[in-house]
Each structure stands twice: as structure tokens, then as C-alpha cells.
């Protein structure tokens, strides 16, 4: 890869060629295979999304031509790697419309981002008796880090309830924001139910009550345009692998003044300005939170994924997935014995469902043999399962490469489940 190519990754523009939706499947090598002699229908996108050739090539090209360690290298490869790595940070900044690239912290994924905020923001600003408010629909990644903090500090975890449709009960949430509420941590989109939460309203309520807001955007960023400044959230966390990028790279957005005031998360190289055995002077954000050699190629791959999504268009991705969701919802509802769990008015492309007396794992196994990859289980959201009094659900979830034929194949596969379980 030449320097020109590196600088093209820096450019904050989309190329004029816009792939048509029918041709998008061609960009994903993994989709073109048979499983059990049937065409693969991949509907486990809420767990992780497959990678387009553009991302695979960007990572491979980077390792083949430009790889070296980043920061403080004086040789050419190190400078190229640094340009690609920091260029990716700029791509990420503009993608979520953050004000400043120093507000973009590289992490392993949304889980690490939330743990970072819990430990760094939490230990800096919270004390015993302070309250953290989450919702009943959170992924374990947005529950357990707060429970750990509560064990450490004696802070109190409060939970905003959801209704039978799987929507947040906003009046209850508003009532739970009290004088001791320091932080509201909420999913933008529920991974188990598909519910899209009114996060801008939640931010307004929380700020009015003097609380900060962290949004878990792992299930939102892949499916809709996100503008952290319009939302006015204090923290926003997401993962690269759910948005066509590689595993092991994710993003924590944090308002600059908050990141500056927070204690470091992990200690090591890169996160310090000066070290002696008597004293440490930490780097400024974001480097203060990026100890050790980072996932450099992961950042490059994530930027390539963002470029890819932009070429298609975030609005087109959202519109296509909304069509698939509507199609699948209507088709599944028409099948006797099917119950959809999560029927919010505003949903992203996730359908959790149950079928008569068939357990979710039996549904998953039978569908797998039809070539249909879905998820079965509690989706790391056990409190959601408890709320709906089910041990597990089957879940189909969509990405931009899914087709209406995929939905039809899913429906056909449910007939096999009924054949076995009656």
C-alpha cells in the first residue's frame, strides 16, 4: 500500500460508486457456501456480522505493506502505520459526529468500553450510596460492570422496568432519576428484543436530574446513523465486529472534559508521558486509556468497514433492514404457535420468537440443518428472559446483505420445526 492509499483512508468522503442492494451479497465471501448441502442463510447478525471483501483486504493489505507499531516510531513503516491508525480514529469521529478525535478511545469492544467507564468514571466520581440506573432490557455487558462497581464502592444499582411489548416505561425511568443518580446506562437498541430506545429523551431527563449518560450502541451503530452530539450523550460504546469490522476493536466515545477528568483504566506503555519510580505523568486522552500496543490492524479494518457502510448509505441500510423486519414479522406471526417476544413500536432488525412447545435450542438445531443460522438462548440478557418468563428465545437478526429470500427460507425452516415437534 502506498502513502496515497493511506491518505485516501484519511479522507472523510465517500466514493461516488454506490453498490446496489442486490449486489451487496457478492461483497461477502463467507455467504457463498453451502452448509449441510443447503445455501447458507446467515441470520445471527446481532451476535456478529460477516465481513465484506473491502474489510478483509484492508486488514490483509495493511499487514502486507504498512504494518509496524504505532506512536513514537521514526521509521517509514511506523509512520505509515501511525497515519492509518490515527486516520481511522478520524473516520470513526466523523462517523458518529464527535466534536474532536481526542474523544475517540480505542477499546476491544463495547464490553471493554463500558467496563472502562465503570472503573474510570465510576471510581473517579462515584461514592457509596450514589446510584447507577440501568434498564431491564440491558445486555449483561451493561449490567455486570456496574454490579462490580457496586461491590467495590457501595454504589446502588437501580433498574428501569419495561412493558409487555419490551419498551422502556419512560415515566418509571423518570421517577427513578433521583438526587443520588450519577449515571444512566442504557442500550440504544436491545439485542434480545430489538427495541430502539428514545435515547435523546433519556439524555434530556438524566441531564435535567444532574446525571451523566452512557449509551450502549453495540446494536445501533450497525443499523442507523448515530450522532453523539445531537444525542448529547456523555459516553457512547460500540463494537467493530457488529458493524462489518473485525473482532477485538471497538470504540468508546466520551466528552472531552469527562475523559480528561477520569483516572486511567489500565497502566502500561503509551498511556504515560513520563515515568519514574516515584512519579507517573499520564498522557492526555485518548492515549491515557490506551495502554499497550493496540489492535492497529483492527482500527484499519474498522475504518474500512465505516467506509463500506457509507458507500452503501446508512439510510439505505436502515430502510432495507426495516423492510426485512416487517416481512419476517408478518410471516412469523402468521405461523400457528409462533410468539414474538419484543413487539415495540420502534424496532431494529431483531426478532426473538418462541414456537409452541419447542425449546429455542431445538429450534436452533433444526434450523441449522436447513442451512439457517440463528441464535438460541438468553442472548446475554437473562433479566429479559425472566421478565418474559421464558428460559430462552430463538432469535433471527438482519444485516444489509440479507434478502427477502432469506426471510422465506427462515419461514420454511419453521415448518420443519413444526414437523418435528407437532
Amino acid at each position: 500500500m502506498s502513502m496515497t492509499k493511506v491518505s485516501s483512508a484519511l479522507a472523510d468522503v465517500t466514493t461516488p460508486e454506490v453498490p446496489s442492494l442486490e449486489h451487496i451479497r457478492r461483497d461477502f465471501p463467507v455467504l457463498h457456501q453451502k452448509v449441510y448441502d443447503r445455501p447458507l442463510v446467515y441470520l445471527d447478525n446481532a451476535a456478529t456480522v460477516q465481513k465484506p471483501r473491502a474489510v478483509i483486504d484492508a486488514i490483509s493489505d495493511f499487514y502486507a505493506h504498512d504494518y509496524a507499531n504505532v506512536r513514537r516510531g521514526v521509521h517509514l513503516l511506523s509512520m505509515r502505520a501511525d497515519q492509518a491508525y490515527e486516520g481511522a480514529r478520524e473516520t470513526i469521529r466523523s462517523f458518529i459526529n464527535a466534536a474532536d478525535r481526542r474523544e475517540i478511545v480505542y477499546v476491544r469492544g463495547a464490553t471493554e468500553a463500558i467496563n472502562l467507564v465503570a472503573q474510570s468514571f465510576g471510581r473517579t466520581h462515584l461514592q457509596a450510596g450514589d446510584e447507577i440506573l440501568v434498564t431491564e432490557m440491558e445486555h449483561h455487558a451493561n449490567i455486570v460492570p456496574w454490579q462490580l462497581l457496586c461491590e467495590q464502592l457501595g454504589t446502588v444499582l437501580k433498574v428501569a422496568p419495561i412493558n409487555d411489548a419490551g419498551e422502556l416505561i419512560m415515566e418509571a425511568l423518570a421517577r427513578l432519576i433521583g438526587p443520588r443518580t450519577r449515571l444512566v446506562a442504557v442500550a440504544h437498541v436491545s439485542n434480545a428484543l430489538g427495541t430502539v430506545n428514545p435515547v435523546a429523551d433519556i439524555v434530556r431527563l438524566a441531564h435535567a436530574g444532574g446525571a451523566r449518560v452512557l449509551i450502549d450502541g453495540a446494536q445501533a451503530v450497525p443499523h442507523m446513523a448515530v450522532d453523539v452530539r445531537a444525542l448529547d450523550c456523555d459516553f457512547y460504546a460500540y463494537s467493530g465486529h457488529k458493524m462489518y469490522g473485525p473482532t477485538g476493536i471497538g470504540v468508546l466515545y466520551g466528552k472531552r472534559e469527562l475523559l480528561e477528568a477520569m483516572a486511567p483504566y489500565q497502566g502500561g506503555g503509551e498511556m504515560v508521558k513520563r515515568v519514574s519510580f516515584e512519579e507517573v505523568i499520564y498522557s492526555d486522552p485518548p492515549y491515557k486509556f490506551e495502554a499497550g500496543t493496540p489492535h492497529i490492524a483492527g482500527a484499519v479494518g474498522l475504518a474500512a468497514a465505516i467506509d463500506y457502510m457509507r458507500r452503501i448509505g446508512l439510510d439505505r441500510i436502515a430502510a432495507h433492514e426495516a423492510e426485512l423486519l416487517a416481512h419476517a414479522t408478518e410471516a412469523l406471526q402468521a405461523i400457528p404457535g409462533v410468539r414474538i417476544v419484543g413487539t415495540a413500536a420502534h424496532k431494529a432488525g431483531v426478532i426473538s420468537f418462541l414456537m409452541g412447545r419447542a425449546h429455542a435450542h431445538d429450534i436452533g438445531t433444526i434450523m441449522d440443518r436447513q442451512g439457517v443460522a440463528i441464535r438460541a438462548g438468553h442472548h446475554c440478557a437473562m433479566p429479559v428472559m425472566t421478565r418474559f418468563r421464558v428460559p430462552a428465545t430463538a432469535r433471527a437478526s438482519f444485516a444489509v446483505y440479507n434478502t427477502h429470500q432469506d426471510v422465506e427460507t427462515l419461514v420454511q425452516a419453521t415448518h420443519k420445526v413444526r414437523e418435528v415437534f407437532g
Binding site: 435450542h361 431445538d362 440443518r369 428460559p391 430462552a392 418435528v420
Partner: protein, 150 residues
Amino acid sequence: MSDLRDLYEDMILDHNRNPRNYPKTPEGANHHAHGFNPLCGDEFTVHLKVEDGVIKDVGFEGAGCAISTASASLMTEAVMGKTEADAEEIFGNVHKLLTEEGGEAYLPKVGKLAVLSGVREYPMRVKCATLAWHTMRAALEDVDGTVCTE
């Protein structure tokens, strides 16, 4: 469909639909254990009434997928009236049948439990099939806490 039927044999489907010794806590039960498969959410409690080294009665409660439920039901039938030593031996044979390479060798030793062997082709489901067996064994040995197949 034939391969799916190897897993979901009629006997499995029957024991799932109508589990034997379920839900049941035998009167005078003196050994209990709780089993949980976090992967699936399968969760069972096994109760045994053991007298003079013989399993006089057995029952289970809880809920799980078809494989784990049917396997639990078949387990209760298999160990009912057996000595503790026999139950341990049956557990060993079933466990080897389901988990070991070349486990088919144990088919002749397990009688109708051979119906569980279809799970060998579904590695993700082996834990479902073995949960109740591990739980039964934990009950015999009075293991405290929860048996976890993960």
C-alpha cells in the same frame, strides 16, 4: 430430514412430551442435586430415594430443551431400582457413549439409552444430553451446589 430424525427420534420426542417421573419428588427422597446448563438455560433438580445402596425411587423437576428433558426422563427409568454401583456404571457408559471418540462401542451396554447416541453428531447438544446424568451422579455423591455443564 433423516439426519435430524437421528437426533429427534420418536422415543426422544415421546419422553420430551411426556417425561417420566416428572415433576416428582419421591416421598422419603434423601439425595438431591441441582443441575444447570447456562448455555441453554436447561435446569433440573434430581431427587433420589436411596435405601441400603439401592435407588428405590427417583424423580426430577425443572425445564429444558427436548434433548435434556428426554435424557432426564430416560435416566430416571434407567436407574430406578438399581444399586448405586449399577447407576454409576450406567452413567459411565452413557457418558462415554456420548462424549468419547469411538463411544459407539458402548452401544451394546446401554440398551434403549442408545436412542441418545444421535446427539454425537451435534457437539453443541452433548451438554444437553448429559446434564441430568451428571446431576443424578451429583445427587448420589451428595455434591453441594449446582452441577454445571459448561
